[in-house]
Symmetry: C2
Subunit: 387 residues, 2 copies
């Protein structure tokens, strides 16, 4: 019975619905509320207005059948796989009103009442997950940056959540799949719809190696306002959101704002300033609303993954200093004063503008470190590397 | 007489010299100090050690003649064109020790005692100036980003100061010249030396449309330690330093550290994360040690140029919202529910999941703004633009 009631409510109440949430919070169950809506009971309050034009759309059985036909199930807060901890944390944060970035979307900062799911248990899929989103009008650079980022994330067992849109989203899902990682697509239309049309095969592969989920009943069209409310789920389900390529008015920025409003980690990948493709990323970094990340290691560092090396440490390893780069300024003066053919200590002291005893002391020390060498009375450099 | 004394001191004391600075601060003049150094007077204190191996290098007349031969003059703190305000502000800040980023270079955080100058009066050249520096191993992207940046700066009468090195520095100088702006090159070798060798013609053009300056006496070789101390002048003379492309160990980062230690504005241009060329820029932005800038408008905004538009305002103008992008969520629901062939208000209310009176109210409002249109009983969208 409960599944039918949830399906009915999902059809007649377009989420997110605060009146429905309030009734659930007050302890009413789905069966009771569905009955109330059908009968226009006075106790449903505001929900009567929200369902005024749809309450007689009673298609619950058909919706469940349509979903089952594509291998999808309906889950609700009573289900074991409901990502309760994620939703509680995200929407609990939003309720504190600590972020002023939700603006006109504040009213939507509540969990979905149900989700339609194709694939593995949702709670497991998102247990260690990060959102990777970006522009549909992706450049070659955006593609490459996304591939590098997602390869690193998937390799380290981070589930990549995105919106299955063309461009960056598609590259993110595809790379996660190719790397053998889990990935979750949050659709802005019915779970049985294929949108964008050309991503049908991709969505099937995501369902087989993660989940495809939707807040909307079967058959629903993807519409602009649904993209915006869908974005809150992408942000809410994940520990943080990374935007890769987003121009000034990219929808991906809306997802980032949701992450901010829901208390998640917000990150942006920089790009060439010679194209407008990364303007949105740069602007958020500049405003201090997103942290600059250059790859998976940065993201893992920010999300606090165990075993993530500090990024500066990694760079120190990857781009090791040459012995000459490690010299102090006085050591450099002495080193620089060694002529290619060899110089006496006196010549070096004068060339370096240092007193002879100090120059000799420094030379001896450099010799111990094999940076200079003494042959007879001539000091010379062991190795010349470009500084 | 004084010019000869300054030239002598410049030859035998390799700057920056704190003992020399202390004698000058104590009121000794150049003639007196030169005499003291020549005679190894006890009152010159530490300066005796610093000049131990060079005090008998008395080539002042020759040095002045060598400089004059390339059209260069010697200036010192008593000269009208000495950039006193810039040095006082920069090294005064460093003396407060408010920045811990000078590290091993703290001892060098003092002004030069003289400068050799080819070109226009230095104080005028740097009165409104910004440093633009970067890697010698510049990519095509680095070239293009530098060109765009410097064009905007030169157009708005900002003098571009750099180090005349190959790569980004060269592009910065050349673009400033091509844009008709002023530019200043700070050399790490004698003013009569051409370094890098292939930049001889460029240095001549800089001297004709700005200045070439050096802290070192004629004939001095460019050496590693001189690049590092030269960098402090690039930072000290300018209101801020921008790095464009700098890998993990780029010398340009040293200039940026100097700017930080001298209380100047520190800025970095981001770039592709798919190459290592901008690693240094990204790292400084991430550490909060440089502000992300995408072009001249950002730089001018940070340096507080009069008339600089707020960058966000400019983007708002450049990437105007479409009427649909400006809709509220409920307006979008109504707009999205208008079918291409036209829909009745009842259909729209049901499609949008909104009560009929609210839907009608929103439709009327959208019609006033010419976003939807009513023909008979059919509402349709006036314009469909991609969100």
């Amino acid at each position: 019975m409960s599944q039918l009631s949830w399906a009915y409510l999902n059809r007649v109440v377009e989420g997110p619905s605060r009146p429905l949430q309030q009734l659930l919070d007050a302890g009413r169950d789905a069966d009771e509320i569905a009955r109330g809506v059908r009968r226009r009971a006075t106790w449903i309050g505001e929900l009567a207005t929200q369902t005024a034009s749809r309450h007689n759309w009673d298609r619950a059985e058909q919706d469940l059948a349509d979903a089952a036909a594509v291998g999808a199930r309906l889950i609700h807060p009573g289900c074991a796989e409901w990502p309760l901890a994620e939703f509680d944390r995200a929407f609990g944060f939003a309720a504190t009103g600590r972020s002023d970035h939700l603006r006109s979307y504040q009213a939507d900062a509540i969990p979905p009442h149900v989700l339609w799911v194709r694939g593995m248990p949702l709670d497991q899929a998102v247990a260690q997950s990060v959102a990777v989103v970006g522009t549909r009008a992706a450049t070659r650079y955006g593609h490459e940056a996304t591939r590098q980022l997602v390869q690193g994330l998937a390799t380290h067992h981070w589930t990549v959540v995105s919106g299955a849109a063309l461009g960056i989203d598609t590259v993110a899902h595809e790379t996660a799949l190719a790397t053998g990682g889990l990935t979750v697509a949050v659709a802005a239309c019915g779970i049985d719809r294929t949108y964008p049309a050309r991503n049908g095969a991709l969505l099937d592969r995501i369902a087989a190696q993660g989940c495809v989920i939707s807040e909307y009943p079967p058959g629903m069209n993807p519409q602009r306002h649904r993209f915006l409310t869908r974005n809150r789920l992408v942000a809410a389900l994940t520990a943080g959101t990374v935007i890769v390529e987003a121009a000034w008015r990219s929808g991906a920025l809306n997802t980032l704002s949701w992450a901010e409003g829901l208390g998640r980690v917000t990150m942006a990948v920089p790009g060439p300033v010679t194209s407008a493709g990364s303007l949105g990323c740069h602007e958020r970094i500049r405003q201090g609303r997103a942290q600059l990340v250059t790859g998976a290691d940065d993201v893992r560092g920010l999300l606090g993954a165990i075993g993530a090396l500090d990024v500066a440490e990694q760079y120190e390893l990857a781009y090791a200093a040459t012995p000459v780069q490690s010299l102090t300024r006085n050591e450099l003066r002495v080193f620089d004063a060694c002529a290619p053919g060899g110089s006496t200590a006196q010549e070096i002291a004068a060339g370096a503008g240092l007193p002879l005893p100090l120059a000799v002391h420094l030379l001896m020390d450099l010799a111990r470190r094999n940076v200079v060498r003494l042959d007879g009375t001539a000091w010379s450099r062991v190795e010349v590397s470009e500084g």
